[in-house]
C-alpha cells in the first residue's frame, strides 16, 4: 500500500495517457459545452501555468493529452463566450472542494492523506450532498474523486448564476458554519421573554443541518483540534461525554457541559466547520478544477467521477494500473 500515494514519473504519466486514459470516460457534463470552458495544465509539477487553453472538440483534447501527458490537467468551473480570454462569463458550476488532508476534524491524525481520512472525507461529502438535495433542492450534482479528496460539482441552472456572496451563503448553510440562533420570539407576545430553543430541539431546516455537522465533529474529534473557544478542560469533557451525542441525548450532554461552555463549543465547532470545504474554491467563479479522468501525479491517483458515494472506494477504483505494476508493489 505504501506505493499508492507516491508521485508518478514522466514515463508513468505517458503510459497512463497512452494505455489507460480514454476520452470517452470524460463525464458528459464536461463534454457538453466543452468549448466554453477554459483549460489549464501543469507540465512540470510547479502549478498550472499553462492557462487559457480552449478545445473545440473532445478529439482535440484527446490529442493534447496523449501528446503532452501533463503532470496535471484542469478545466474551469465557468462557462464563457470567449474562454480564451476568460471573457463574457456566462455561468459557473457551484463547487465544493473537500480535501482529505484539510478536513479540520480527522480521527486519524495523519499529516497527509491516508485511507481513514479519505473515507472520512467521503462521509462528509455524502452529508453535504444530502443537504444540497434535501434542503436546497439542487439537482444535477456530480461527485468527482480528485485524488486526495472530492469535488462536488453542481450544474443546476438555478444556482449557476449565483455570485460569490450567494455561494458563500450556501457554503455556510451546508457546512454548518454559523451557529443557529437559540432564542426565538412568539408573534403577538411583544415584551415577553424569548423562548430558548437549541438547534438539537429543531428537527428541520438549518438547525437540523447544524446538528448533523456538530454531531459529526464531536464524534470524530481526537482532542488535538484547536478552537479558541474550547479550552483543554472543555475538550476533555466533550470527549468524556460524547457517547451521549452518539445516542442523540443532546439535553443530557449540554447539562454535563454547562450552558455557557456548550455555547462556546458550538461557536468553536461552527468555525471549524468552515474548513470542511475549501471556501476559496466555492466562492471563486473562475476557478479551474482538476479535470475528471486526468491523473493526480503527486499521489498517482486517477481523478474520476464517482457514481455512488456511499460505496465508492478510491483505493479500489481510482488507482491507475501502473501503480499496481510498480516494482516491489
Amino acid at each position: 500500500m505504501t506505493h499508492i500515494f507516491e508521485p508518478s514519473t514522466l514515463e508513468e504519466r505517458r503510459r497512463y495517457y497512452r494505455d489507460e486514459w480514454d476520452i470517452n470516460d470524460l463525464p458528459d457534463f464536461i463534454r457538453k459545452d466543452l468549448s466554453k470552458r477554459e483549460f489549464g495544465f501543469d507540465h512540470l509539477g510547479r502549478g498550472p501555468n499553462d492557462r487559457y487553453r480552449v478545445f473545440k472538440t473532445p478529439d482535440m483534447l484527446k490529442r493534447f493529452m496523449r501528446y503532452r501527458s501533463p503532470f496535471a490537467a484542469y478545466c474551469s468551473v465557468a462557462f464563457y463566450n470567449k474562454p480564451r480570454k476568460r471573457g463574457e462569463w456566462l455561468k459557473s458550476e457551484l463547487v465544493f472542494d473537500v480535501d482529505a488532508k484539510d478536513v479540520p476534524v480527522r480521527s486519524c491524525g495523519c499529516d497527509s492523506v491516508c485511507e481513514i481520512c479519505l473515507d472520512e472525507a467521503r462521509q462528509i461529502v455524502a452529508g453535504l450532498i444530502d443537504t444540497l438535495k434535501q434542503d436546497l433542492g439542487l439537482k444535477n450534482i456530480h461527485v468527482i474523486y480528485s485524488g486526495r479528496g472530492y469535488h462536488i460539482r453542481i450544474l443546476d441552472e438555478s444556482a449557476m448564476g449565483l455570485d460569490s456572496e450567494g455561494r458563500s451563503q450556501v457554503l455556510k448553510y451546508v457546512a454548518g458554519a454559523e451557529p443557529p440562533k437559540n432564542k426565538y420570539f412568539m408573534e403577538d407576545e411583544s415584551g415577553q421573554k424569548p423562548y430558548e430553543l437549541e438547534h438539537f430541539s429543531i428537527p428541520l431546516g438549518y438547525p437540523a443541518v447544524f446538528t448533523k455537522r456538530i454531531k459529526y465533529a464531536i464524534l470524530h474529534m481526537n482532542g488535538t483540534e484547536k478552537m479558541e473557544e474550547v479550552n483543554p478542560k472543555l475538550m476533555k469533557d466533550v470527549l468524556k461525554y460524547r457517547e451521549m451525542v452518539q445516542k442523540d441525548e443532546w439535553g443530557l450532554f449540554k447539562n454535563k457541559i454547562g450552558p455557557i461552555r456548550y455555547r462556546n463549543l458550538v461557536e468553536g465547532i461552527s468555525k471549524l466547520n468552515m474548513g470542511l470545504v475549501d471556501a476559496k474554491v466555492s466562492i471563486d467563479l473562475k476557478r479551474i478544477l482538476r479535470m475528471p479522468t486526468s491523473l493526480h501525479s503527486k499521489v498517482s491517483m486517477r481523478c474520476m467521477e464517482v457514481k455512488n458515494i456511499e460505496t465508492f472506494d478510491p483505493l479500489k477504483e481510482a488507482v491507475p494500473k501502473f501503480v499496481n505494476e510498480r516494482k516491489g508493489y
Binding site: Q134, D135, L136, G137, L138, S158, A159, G161, L162, D163, S164, E165, G166, S168, Q169, V170, K172, Y173, E178, P180, Y184, F185, M186, E187, D188, Y195, L197, S201, I202, P203, L204, G205, Y206, E228, K271, M274, G275, A279, K280, I283
Partner: protein, 466 residues
C-alpha cells in the same frame, strides 16, 4: 379567520401597498398621475394638513412640518439618521411618516430621492445606501403600526405581488443573498422551497416534530416575521435596483436641475446629521475623516497579526490583498466607504511621497516578517503590491502608470473569514464593524474620546525599520 374585509378595507389595503412598496403597480400609478418634477418645491397645503393631522405629530414648531415633496424627502433622511444616531430622537417629530394617508406624497418623494441620488451619485454611495436602508426600516416600522388583521392581509398581498411562483425558491432570492440582505440560514428550506405558510409547514414537517406542538414550532421559527423580513428586504432591493437603473440611464439624458439640487441637499443633510455627540451608533464616529499619520494602536487584530508576519499558505493574500489596501487607505483615505469621489492615490498624495516613504516600507517590512519571507519565494508579489495600489504591474509606483490597475479597497471581515481565517481573531470592537478600515476609524475615534494621547507609533516606525 371568519373576518372578511369590507370594500372600504380592501381599498385601504390597496393604499397600504403603495405606502409600503412604492415600486408596486399602485405606486407606479401614483407616479404616473402626480409625478411632475415641476411642483417639487411648491408648498403643498394638502401635505401640510395631513402632517398636522397625523396622530401624535409634534407641531410645536414649523420646522417639524415638511411643506413640499422636496422637504418630505429630506425629512426621510433626517428621520433615519436621527433615529440611528441621536439619543434625543423623538418619534413624534416624524409621526407623519407612519401615517398611511401620506402614501401618495411619500411615493413621489422616494422616486424623487432615488432619481436625484441615481443621477448624482454612485448607487453604492452613502447617499444610495442610506436611501435603501431607510426604506427597509420604514417598511418595518410601518408594518409594526398596522392592526393585526390589516397587517396580515397586506403582507400576503405584498408577497403575492412580489413573488409569482406557488413556492418561493431560495434561488429566486439570489440578489438578496448576494447583497447580504437575507441570510440563507435564517430561512426554513425544504426541497429548495422557502417555507412560509403554516399549512405548508405542517404538511412538510408535522411528522418530524416531537414533544412540541407543530403549530407553535411554526410560530417560533417562521410566523409572520420571516415573511415581513423578506418583504422589507425585497423592497430594499427594489429601491437599490431603481437607483441603479437611473444611474445607468443618467449619462444618456440631461439631468433636471431640480434633481441635482435635491441630490446636493440630501448629501448636505447626511453630512450635517452623521455625527451626534455620545450617540455611540455606527454613524456616531462620523464627520469627515482626513488623511493623517497612521495610528498603529488602532489597527484591528487581523492587521496586527499580518504586520507581525504570516506563515506560508496565507502570506500572499495577507500582504498583497489585505495589508496593502488597508495601510494605503488607512493612511490616505480612511473615509473611502463613506464618501463618493476620488479613488486615485495621487489625489491625496500628489507626489507619491507618502506612498513611497511611509506606506510601501511598512508593507515590505511585513512581507519580510513572514515565514519564510514572502519576497524571497515570490519576488513577483512586489509587483502585485504596486498593482493593488493602482499603478499597474510595475516595479515602482509612478504617476505615469497610475490607473493601469485599480486601487483596491480593503476586503470585508466576511471575506477575511473565508480567505484568511487564521488571521481573524475578533475582539470586542470587531463585533461592531464589517471591515478592518471601519475598525480603524472607530478605534481612533474611541481612543480620541477616551483621552488616550499616546503618540502614534508611526513616528517611531522609521527607527524600527532601521
Amino acid at each position: 379567520m371568519g373576518n372578511f374585509l369590507s370594500i372600504v378595507q380592501l381599498i385601504e389595503i390597496m393604499v397600504l401597498i403603495s405606502y409600503l412598496n412604492p415600486f408596486s403597480s399602485e405606486g407606479e400609478e401614483i407616479v404616473r398621475e402626480k409625478g411632475s418634477i415641476e411642483g417639487i418645491f411648491e408648498v403643498n397645503p394638502e401635505l401640510l394638513q395631513l402632517v398636522r393631522d397625523s396622530k401624535s405629530q409634534n407641531i410645536s414648531d414649523d420646522s417639524y412640518i415638511p411643506k413640499n415633496y422636496a422637504d418630505l424627502a429630506l425629512k426621510r433622511v433626517e428621520w433615519y439618521l436621527r433615529r440611528k444616531n441621536d439619543k434625543k430622537y423623538n418619534h413624534n417629530d416624524y409621526a407623519f411618516l407612519i401615517n398611511p394617508k401620506i402614501a401618495k406624497f411619500d411615493v413621489i418623494s422616494i422616486y424623487t430621492m432615488a432619481q436625484a441620488i441615481g443621477i448624482k451619485f454612485n448607487p453604492k454611495s452613502r447617499e444610495g445606501r442610506l436611501l435603501v436602508e431607510s426604506q427597509g426600516k420604514l417598511v418595518e416600522d410601518r408594518l409594526e403600526k398596522l392592526v393585526p388583521i390589516e397587517r396580515k392581509e397586506v403582507v400576503n398581498n405584498l408577497l403575492n405581488q412580489m413573488i409569482t411562483q406557488d413556492n418561493i425558491k431560495w434561488t429566486s432570492m439570489s440578489q438578496l443573498l448576494g447583497s447580504k440582505k437575507i441570510n440563507l440560514t435564517d430561512m426554513i428550506l425544504d426541497q429548495g422551497d422557502v417555507v412560509l405558510e403554516k399549512e405548508d409547514f405542517l404538511i412538510r414537517f408535522e411528522d418530524k416534530i416531537e414533544g412540541r406542538l407543530p403549530e407553535k414550532m411554526y410560530d417560533l421559527l417562521i410566523g409572520e416575521k420571516i415573511k415581513e423580513m423578506i418583504i422589507s428586504r425585497m423592497i430594499m432591493q427594489k429601491t437599490e435596483n431603481y437607483i441603479h437603473k437611473v444611474h445607468e440611464m443618467a449619462p444618456k439624458i440631461e439631468a433636471h436641475p431640480t434633481l441635482l439640487e435635491i441630490g446636493e441637499q440630501i448629501s448636505e443633510k447626511i453630512k450635517e446629521l452623521s455625527y451626534f455627540p455620545g450617540s455611540g451608533g455606527s454613524g456616531g464616529f462620523g464627520g469627515d475623516i482626513k488623511a493623517t499619520q497612521l495610528q498603529h494602536e488602532a489597527f484591528p487584530p487581523c492587521i496586527q497579526k499580518t504586520i507581525e508576519g504570516v506563515g506560508s499558505g496565507n502570506r500572499n493574500d495577507a500582504i498583497v490583498l489585505l495589508l496593502t489596501s488597508f495601510l494605503s487607505y488607512a493612511r490616505l483615505y480612511p473615509s473611502v466607504f463613506r464618501n463618493e469621489g476620488t479613488s486615485k492615490i495621487s489625489d491625496i498624495d500628489p507626489d507619491l511621497q507618502i506612498t513611497i516613504n511611509e506606506i510601501i516600507p511598512l508593507i515590505f517590512e511585513a512581507a519580510n516578517n513572514c515565514n519564510p519571507p514572502l519576497f524571497d519565494d515570490d519576488p513577483q508579489e512586489k509587483l502585485n503590491v504596486i498593482a493593488k495600489l493602482g499603478f499597474g504591474v510595475n516595479k515602482d509606483p509612478e504617476l505615469k502608470h497610475e490607473g493601469e490597475s485599480k486601487w483596491y479597497t480593503p476586503m470585508s471581515c466576511d471575506k477575511i473569514k473565508i480567505h484568511l481565517s487564521s488571521l481573524c481573531k475578533p475582539d470586542a470592537t470587531c463585533k461592531k464593524i464589517g471591515n478592518p478600515l471601519s475598525y480603524y476609524n472607530r478605534k481612533r475615534w474611541e481612543l480620541r474620546n477616551s483621552g488616550d494621547k499616546t503618540p502614534s507609533k508611526s513616528s517611531e516606525s522609521d527607527s524600527d525599520t532601521d
